[in-house]
């Protein structure tokens, strides 16, 4: 009996069945989903006008801070909390509103959340009253039996991608450079999605202070392309 050299066929793991919920999550978080994400810069427009963000490197640093220590982290935690269902979502939504650091931040999450809840409830037959976007997403992911970590990671990646698109309209930033920034932020999006899964409501905190200031100052910014 001779030994048989293993073939590629015999060592490869069998293909994973395609997870339909992942495809649906991708649909929800694609720029084509009608929540109007393109209208918001999350204070980035102020940061560009103030000269705090000027190129790919400073954009990456700005977004890194927001993802790891600002609304990226808090939004991911709201997604987890809404998914866990330990608190009624209406209660979480009220808390998330009180946590909003600036009026345009609140409106950004409120309008996108209302649009998301309306479309998603209608198409998938879910129970989604109007809520801030991350709370609505977490609640929808729970009702669909989705993986909260994937929901948070895709949300953060979409959030970063949207702001990088906004940056391309605000300053000179080529397509290749922009995609480079997205790709360098991807591991951070995954890390934040994972690490926030270990946190509770008591851990809700944010230290992206200048990003809050940028959001506040955007209210009177002239001229302005974005709603936040």
């Amino acid at each position: 009996m001779g030994t048989v050299a293993p073939t590629a066929m015999s060592t490869a793991t069998p293909p994973m069945p395609i997870d339909h919920t992942l495809l649906t999550l991708t649909q929800w978080l694609s720029p084509a989903y009608p929540v109007g994400a393109f209208a918001y810069s999350h204070g980035l427009e102020t940061a560009v006008q103030a000269g705090w963000v000027t190129d790919a490197a400073t954009l990456e640093a700005w977004l890194r801070d927001i993802l790891s220590d600002g609304s990226g982290k808090t939004d991911a935690l709201w997604i987890w909390l809404a998914w866990r269902g330990e608190h009624p979502v209406a209660e979480l939504d009220a808390l998330a509103r009180a946590w909003s650091p600036a009026q345009e931040r609140l409106r950004e999450a409120e309008r996108q959340g209302a649009a998301f809840a309306k479309v998603t409830a209608e198409v998938w037959g879910l129970d989604l009253p109007p809520m801030l976007l991350p709370v609505a997403l977490g609640a929808a992911a729970r009702q669909m039996g989705m993986d909260p970590e994937q929901a948070a990671a895709l949300y953060l990646n979409a959030f970063a991608g949207n702001l990088i698109s906004a940056a391309q309209r605000l300053m000179p930033l080529g397509q290749t450079a922009a995609q480079g920034v997205v790709s360098r932020l991807t591991p951070l999006c995954a890390d934040v999605a994972t690490s926030t899964g270990a946190l509770t409501l008591d851990d809700m905190s944010s230290s992206a202070f200048l990003s809050d200031v940028a959001a506040m100052r955007h209210e009177t910014l002239e001229p302005r392309l974005f709603q936040s």
């Binding site: 400073t58 700005w62 220590d69 808390l95 009180a98 009026q103 506040m216 209210e219």
Partner: protein
């Protein structure tokens, strides 16, 4: 022990912490008396003392931590109520210092209430974080629907002018304002490790060494928005979250610069009733 001695000891003592651990409590309630306000109940214990330099329209309370600063294992628990229809202004005699703590964290819990028709002003002077500090602060305010509030919490991230650098600090802070049983304003930060590097990051502090978070709840909040916007430096923002809720986040290079921007704002929102200890 004087403040100076404690500061010196805190800086030079070896890791085995032999500093006495300070405990202190405050329990204060005010009530209206004619068109003024008066003390209704007062109890203090441990390292907390209170001075009442004047009680006119508002009771003005200056809270003193006689231990001279916060260090590991210290615990302060402050409770104050602006009783229905009364005015209460709380401040501190001087900046509060959070010193190096070898093991335990220092804890400060503040529980405030503003009853129907009252005015509560929580205006402590700066918290100064020193290298090695371990501090956990929790502030909760419960307001009646028609109560008014002015709250400001200034924090200094090390006395940079004196060459101090924060490389190893744990600072956890929460502010929670509830009205009629519902959350109105929530804020909090958890900073750990090298705070100098953290505050240098572009969307965190952009190199700032001082910060204040301010909350103003009053029927005229909307009318204060435009004047306050004009008073903000480039690193400060003000936003109207509701018709009667105004919030400010303001960063500055150091404590002096912070005061330069903050004092006019506090004068305006307190209608020139800022406690005298802020001027010393």
């Amino acid at each position: 022990m004087t403040l100076h001695m404690r500061e010196k000891q805190a800086a030079t003592l070896p890791k085995a912490n032999i500093l006495p651990r300070a405990r202190g409590t405050l329990d204060l309630t005010t009530k209206p008396r004619g068109d003024r306000s008066a003390i209704d109940r007062l109890r203090t214990s441990g390292c907390v003392r209170v001075l009442f330099p004047r009680s006119e329209r508002a009771v003005e309370a200056i809270v003193i931590n006689t231990s001279g600063g916060l260090t590991g294992g210290d615990s302060l628990s402050l409770a104050a109520v602006a009783g229905a229809g009364s005015h209460l202004t709380l401040t501190t005699q001087a900046a509060e210092r959070a010193y190096r703590a070898s093991a335990d964290v220092a804890r400060v819990e503040t529980r405030l209430a503003a009853q129907a028709g009252s005015l509560l002003q929580w205006l402590p002077q700066e918290l100064i974080l020193f290298e090695g500090a371990r501090l956990r602060r929790r502030l909760r305010v419960d307001m009646a629907a028609d109560a008014r509030l002015l709250l400001a919490e200034p924090v200094i991230f090390g006395r940079t002018a004196m060459g101090e650098r924060l490389r190893d600090v744990v600072f956890s802070d929460r502010i929670a304002v509830w009205r009629d049983g519902a959350p109105l304003y929530l804020d909090g930060l958890d900073l750990r490790g090298d705070l100098e590097s953290a505050m240098a990051r572009p969307a965190l502090g952009g190199g700032a060494g001082a910060m204040v978070s301010l909350v103003y709840v009053a029927p005229d909040a909307e009318a204060q928005l435009a004047p306050l916007r004009d008073m903000m430096p480039e690193t400060g923002g003000v936003s109207l979250m509701r018709a009667d809720l105004l919030v400010v986040r303001l960063l500055a290079s150091d404590s002096l610069e912070l005061r330069r921007s903050l004092l006019p704002v506090l004068d305006r929102l307190s209608r020139d009733t800022l406690p005298i200890s802020w001027r010393l």
